[in-house]
């Protein structure tokens, strides 16, 4: 919301400086986003009169002027404008001035041998318009010597404030002025004075505070209505939910020319282009008072106007040039033939006013905020009117709004007003809150004397009775409880006065708060980093193709920001694979990435750790020769190390196949605790999976399912007693020829199981295949308990080992 300092001062009688005002705005919650003074950059340009104009001796198209700048001797200026002539009053840039349009600094210079002491400027050079056919021509009585911004009223700083959605009242300059007055920055002028009514209009009304006559529930007005002649316009509302009140007044015989200078200046300053006086009046009142209006060209209407629900499929060409298709939840203003207004949001093109308009209907209606919000959301249409109506305009301001609009039309377009038609009634129920002034301290943390609180509330338009029953002003739809009143008091008194108060602290050292899941996550993260993996954070959403490479996702956004970020990831690997590909494309030799995050499955979000290993495991080197890539066993090692760090019982895990279609069918597996609980998948990715992410080489990966890892059994801090075996273990080696399909795991399990008392470990230490015969060598660890093994004992165990292996088709090699 933008306005200028002078505009504000129309409502606020104040001596405060711009800086004080800006500071106060932010302090009361109207955050200033910027202040811009368009006059500043033109301060070195002056109103000046051309005294003489002679042909330049060296150039046909140039003239040599003498210019009166209002002080001292006339200056000589060379000028190329065709309209430069003696007697013209224009704008002179003096040496040192910077021309806004091109950033050039003016200097005393010789132009074709003639000294020039400045430049007479065009509107385009000063960025005041597009005209560059000649220099600016000001009225002959413009005061020579005045700086141009002062003369043109450009020294009016534009203040841009961000209005939070609760403050509809501050969508108008008057509301902002009211807040500033409450904050002690001046006095709010009566509305009648602001709009130049002959004083006194209503002497009993002070400070422009609207009050209500509770007995009738109708608004008490601050300015008199325009008493017209002849019947009011034919307006009615058939949709009392969407448009509870529709007031109208007709003005006949208007001339729709240019708006008055002051109005155009204000509108231009805040970035609105003046269009015609009728349109500008509605725009001005909307910004000035937060009161949207609409003006129809009566000649373009067929019959009266009615506020009604749209028919499904009904269309309207709006003022922004777009056609909108409506449905039956939307409120429109229509005549007998067509829709002319998306009620409270945007007017229609066909019934808009033009320079030929002579008779107008002025609409001042109340639209229901929720209806406006829903219609606006459905149509995807925002407008200044919607912003105000959906936040809730003052329902008690319809009479004043219409009176001011009609007055402005009569003042600036002439014509004769009709009587007023008031269809329906705005919702005028007064709301009251029982307030306890101690809440300022017990909630807001700031003790404010009750009298002071009452004063603040009254300055804001609340009324407070002796029992602290606080009546809410009609323009503060956002207030509905004690906490709101505390906020009003605190923000005006100064939230910075609130002093910090320590929270209570439990005695002793702070107690641990992390949950087992959080501790698991922290351990895994730092274990992975300690193993040389880099933690990435990648998008939670993927493209459809990326998700499909991992079996598709259960959740797809209805309104993704792009097709690349649409499907919630079913796995952590796609994001890491894309990141790996980007890194390799940037020339990275080796990529070891991990991420801790969630997979978004149909039934739940599951905490997961993903690892991707791509590129070189080890670069070529003088020791190792050629570069080595990652293999499935690197992935297995990462999986086991991380599971061990997580406290999973890694010795009891089984390796099984079935990692799934995204993986290499022969070089992948799962790590399971029991047949059902899958703790991790690991291995090489299927080449087609890698290819889907533009990865050419082999890629190893791990996905670790954190919520499947069994929790630590809580048994206190005490460890079991330390009891190393008294006797030293013995190692024996066995070499077997085995069937091609026999796995290391099956063989070692069988061996270990052959004598559970004596054998504590069995490990493959050699493996080779020659001429179709696979050979596996196993180191078996035997642990004696109370006495050393005899040769006979060892022989017996060896026989059991061989027998167990033979059951699997293995034979001891001779």
């Amino acid at each position: 919301m933008k306005f200028t300092l002078n505009w504000l001062k129309e409502h606020l009688d104040t001596q405060a400086s711009l800086d004080d005002i800006v500071e106060a705005l932010t302090r009361v919650g109207l955050e200033v986003e910027g202040v811009d003074n368009p006059g500043e950059k033109l301060a070195a340009f002056k109103v000046a009169r051309v005294l003489t104009a002679e042909r330049h001796p060296q150039a046909d198209k140039l003239q040599v002027l003498t210019v009166d700048t209002g002080d001292g001797a006339p200056l000589q200026v060379v000028c190329g404008a065709p309209n430069a002539r003696a007697g013209l009053v224009g704008v002179l840039g003096l040496p040192g001035a910077i021309v806004p349009a091109n950033g050039m600094e003016l200097k005393v210079s010789a132009i074709r041998g003639v000294e020039s002491n400045g430049m007479m400027c065009s509107t385009r050079e000063l960025e005041l318009g597009d005209d560059h056919d000649g220099i600016i021509e000001l009225p002959a009585d413009a005061p020579v010597g005045t700086t141009f911004p002062d003369y043109a009223g450009l020294n009016d700083p534009v203040i841009d404030v961000s209005i939070t959605p609760n403050r509809q009242d501050c969508m108008g300059v008057r509301g902002i002025a009211r807040d500033l007055a409450a904050a002690g920055l001046g006095t709010l002028k009566p509305l009648a004075q602001v709009y130049r009514y002959p004083t006194p209009v209503r002497p009993e009304l002070v400070e422009g505070r609207g009050e209500l006559r509770a007995s009738t529930g109708s608004a008490r007005t601050e300015v008199p209505e325009v008493t017209g002649e002849g019947p009011g316009p034919d307006v009615r509302t058939d949709d009392s939910a969407g448009c509870p009140a529709f007031y109208g007044q007709e003005v006949r015989g208007v001339t729709n020319g240019a708006a008055p200078e002051w109005m155009r200046r204000f509108l231009t300053a805040i970035g609105q282009k003046p269009i015609s006086v009728l349109v500008d009046i509605t725009n001005f009142v909307s910004v000035d008072l937060g009161r949207p209006l609409h003006v129809y060209d009566k000649a373009k209407l067929s019959g009266g106007l009615v506020a009604r629900r749209a028919k499904a499929g009904e269309q309207v060409l709006a003022l922004n040039g777009k056609t909108y298709t409506l449905d039956e939840t939307m409120t429109v203003i229509a005549d007998d033939v067509a829709v002319h207004d998306i009620g409270g949001i945007m007017g229609g093109e066909h019934s808009g006013v033009s320079e030929t308009t002579t008779d107008v209907v002025i609409e001042c209606a109340y639209f229901d905020p929720d209806h406006i919000a829903r219609t606006g959301q459905k149509l995807g249409l925002t407008s200044d009117a919607r912003q105000r109506f959906e936040r809730g305009v003052d329902p008690a301001f319809l009479d004043d709004g219409l009176a001011i609009a009609t007055k402005l039309v009569l003042d600036h377009c002439g014509g004769t007003a009709s009587e007023i038609t008031r269809a329906g009634e705005p919702p005028l129920t007064l709301r009251t809150i029982g307030y306890d002034p101690s809440r300022a301290e017990t909630l807001g943390g700031l003790a404010v004397a009750p009298e002071r609180q009452k004063d603040i509330l009254e300055r804001l338009g609340f009324s407070v009775d002796g029992d602290w029953q606080v009546t809410i002003p009609t323009w503060r739809r956002d207030i509905d409880g004690s906490a709101d009143l505390v906020e009003e008091v605190i923000r005006i008194e100064g939230i910075d006065k609130v002093q910090p108060v320590p929270l209570d602290r439990a005695p002793g050292v702070a107690r641990p708060t992390a949950t087992p899941e959080q501790k698991l996550e922290r351990k895994l993260r730092r274990a992975a980093a300690a193993r040389g993996l880099d933690e990435a954070v990648t998008w939670s959403f993927l493209s459809q193709a990326e998700a499909d490479a991992f079996g598709g996702g259960a959740w797809s956004l209805a309104n993704p920001i792009s097709e690349d970020l649409k499907v919630m990831r079913p796995s952590l690997l796609p994001g890491l694979l894309s990141a790996a590909a980007r890194n390799l494309n940037r020339g990275a030799g080796s990529v070891r990435l991990f991420e801790l995050g969630r997979r978004y499955l149909a039934e739940a979000e599951r905490p997961t750790l993903g690892v991707v290993l791509a590129g070189d495991r080890r670069p070529r080197g003088w020791q190792g020769g050629k570069a080595q890539g990652f293999d499935a066993f690197d992935a297995k090692a990462e999986a086991l190390a991380l599971l061990a760090a997580a406290g999973a019982p890694v010795d009891n895990l089984q390796v099984m196949g079935d990692a799934g279609e995204t993986w290499h069918p022969g070089q992948s597996g799962t790590l399971r605790l029991g047949p059902k609980t899958v703790l991790a998948a690991f291995g090489m990715l299927h080449p087609s999976t890698a290819k889907a992410f533009d990865l050419d080489g082999p890629v190893a990966a791990v996905e670790l399912y954190m919520d499947a890892i069994p929790g630590k059994r809580s048994s206190g801090f005490m460890r079991p007693a330390y009891a190393p075996p008294a006797l030293q273990a013995v190692k024996r080696d066995f070499a077997f020829t085995v069937p091609a399909g026999l796995t290391a795991d099956a063989l070692t399990r069988a061996v270990r199981g052959s004598d559970k008392a004596a054998i504590t470990a069995a490990r493959v230490f050699d493996l080779f295949e020659r001429d179709g015969v696979k050979s596996m060598a196993i180191e078996v660890t035997l642990q004696p308990s109370d006495k050393s093994f005899t040769d006979a004992d060892l022989k017996a165990v060896a026989d059991k080992v061989v027998a167990a292996a033979e059951k699997l088709g293995a034979t001891l090699r001779g």
């Binding site: 959605p165 919000a373 505390v486 939230i495 980093a529 959740w555 890491l576 080197g621």
Partner: protein, 358 residues
Amino acid sequence: MSDLDQLQRDLLAAIGSADLAGLEDIRVSALGKSGSVTGLLKTLGGMSPEERQTTGPRIHALREAVSEALTGRKAGLEREALDARLAGETLDMTLPVDVPAAGTVHPVSQVMDELAQIFADLGFAVATGPEIEDDWHNFTALNIPESHPARAMHDTFYFPDQPDGERKMLLRTHTSPVQIRTMVNQQPPIRIIAPGRTYRSDSDATHTPMFHQVEGLVIDKGITLGHLKWTLETFLKAYFERDDIVLRLRPSYFPFTEPSAEVDVGYTIQNGKRVIGGSDHWMEVLGSGMVHPKVIAACGLDPDEWQGFAFGCGIDRLAMLKYGMDDLRAFFDGDIRWLKHYGFTALDVPTLSGGVGA
């Protein structure tokens, strides 16, 4: 007995010029069972006490001298042999070695750990909640009804309507729904922070469609804006490890807090960089306020009995302000150069005794 002296001279001379094999021969010939020195020692038994007293020590001295010479010569020869071997084993110690690459912890994770550490000291637990949320937890319970203009400001990502038509599912636009879930499931007093991923349909240099937020919530009796201010000041001082942190509260609006305040933190410009501390300039870092009575009531608590404060803050932004990254988008690119540059080592575990920063 010059023959003893002579024998010693001969033996020592022989030892001095012998190689390792020769040494053993000399040892056997002198000190072996039938060696020359051994033979002399055997003569001691047949001597008279007087003779033994004069000759005995000399023979023993001879044995000592020979034995010592043998050991010394042997050690010297072995040392020479070792030196010679080692000289032949010289390698170029300037050759490069493979140092396993150190891994890194992402700044967002590191900052989350820092937050958990600081707030644990203030008695706050860490709470979590789903990122795929329903409309009620993300908006309605937070006093943002369907037609509320604030909903439009959230740029929400929605999922298609569910088959049951009941709950509208969306990606949470803030971590505030965790407030709701905590209040619904837990009796006050409550002190939690809730860090996590959040989503808005927004993308430019300072906004990404996914980002991280931390929510704070305190519900108790007699909690005021003063407690909020103290908590935020205490937190920021601990986080930036500076005592000159200055906060400025500005009245603002969030549907789920009343009164509401935006919090600016003061900073100074040093060498062209923004450094938190002091009050030369202000930047907005937090949104906060006293939890709205309607929100407390929506969670089944009595707003006349319980009150408290809530705040929300961007974690990515906190990381940027402390560690100096300037492009948010790089956080989510997985560029290992960036991760190695801005990441943290596994052992940079934030602690209160060591300071939470690294």
